[in-house]
Amino acid sequence: MRAFTYTRATDPQAAIRDSAIAGARYLGGGTNLVDLMREGVERPEALVDVTELSSEISRSADGTLRLGAAAKNTAVAANHTVRQHFPLLSRAILAGASAQIRNMATVGGNLLQRTRCTYFYDLAARCNKRTPGAGCDAVQGFSRLHAILGASPACVATHPSDMCVALAALDAVVHCSGPDGAREIPLVAFHRLPGETPQQDTVLAAGELITAVTVPALPEGMRSSYRKVRDRASYAFALVSVAAALQLDEQGRVADLRLAWGGVAHKPWRASRAEAALLGQHPTAQVVGQAVDLELAQARPLRDNAFKIELTRRTTAAVLAELAGAPA
């Protein structure tokens, strides 16, 4: 592991000041960054520990949830306000990692875990994300776990977060602060598709710090669900995951729908085309299938992962049937 300096910030301004040197990185729980540093994939020269910054979990009068970036995953998932008003968020967090890792990991760190694949970890493999311009051994390699949507010839890795898939469906907003001031970024615009620059996972500028995530209230009575399909019953990344919230009108037509997918792309995938196609429709199996197919028309499977298209189709149909009241 490369040598680094270490400071612990007590307020956001101090953190931003401390990170204003080349090679500085913010450190949350470290569950991804420390691991990548040990492997020699990440080589920061300075770590700015931001775990003593705000870890608040609060709900304002208009129902908006506010999560300090240093809030631990376990604290968010176990919080009674989150469980009552944002069960989708609790469910997604609880579907991720292990209890030990959820106890360490922070909200900000979950957003900033690297979009990655096994070739990214393997220093003997070519990887454009690790070494820009080096090439990608995953595209022609073992690609069972890789992206089917929004990938590029330069990178086919997936973003592994469960929490972010729920946040994408919930219209969450990421609050950032940096040398040039503060700004808010919708969660769905926070992570990037790889394009020609897969080394950049997010739109954050150098030195920008996540301070909080806010989640607007869901309409009263809206039902939601998170379903994760993986190779073992627990403690594995998603092959495909579906976060959905659905409200039907009195005639049983879709009045409001939020649909996001995990495990399929370089970022949490908000299925906007499928949402638009379902709005105002009776969500029968046929209508849901057509709407999902519309979204999946953009899918470009690799050698080993075409099964994800059918898995996404079936999992989404099952979740929406459950939310619409039919037997799951």
Binding site: M1, A3, F4, T5, Y6, L27, G29, G30, T31, V34, D35, R38, E39, L47, D49, T51, T74, A77, A78, R83, Q84, P87, S90, R91, L94, A95, A97, S98, A99, Q100, I101, N103, M104, A233, S234, Y235
Partner: protein
Amino acid sequence: MHFIINGAPVSAEVDLRTSLLDLLREHLRLTGTKKGCDQGACGACTVLVDGVRINSCLALAVQYQGRSITTVEGLADAAGLHPLQQAFIAHDGFQCGYCTPGQLCSAVAMKDELARGIPSHVTADLADAHIAATHDELRERMSGNLCRCGAYNGIVDAIRASMEGEPA
């Protein structure tokens, strides 16, 4: 760096790159905590920080300065083994024993998480304040601790027995 380890203050001069796991094993000679995968996948390195379970391999020691750390060496007291350790013996909760320190520390904290009403992936009702320690709940909550001997049934039996206050 200063820590409280198994109740006693400890100071150590170590490189910033030292993991909490390596601090314990290589510098303090507390070799009960095991290095399995060294990448957060197996749970053999599980220790408690202020009573909360974490993977010590994914932690830099410097992040946990001043905190109270409990390792498997800190579970037993002068009166004898921790009840959970007795239960692991009574119920064959191990074969080779390599994962056992992590399993023990993990289970101690897991019982506390259950008592505090923290839900899991298999908890049916998130509103439930009193979550029953069913077989499925215990397996899910212990899924961060792998046992390559496959002693899972004994591990779950031991944990259930200790929770039910069964005499060892």
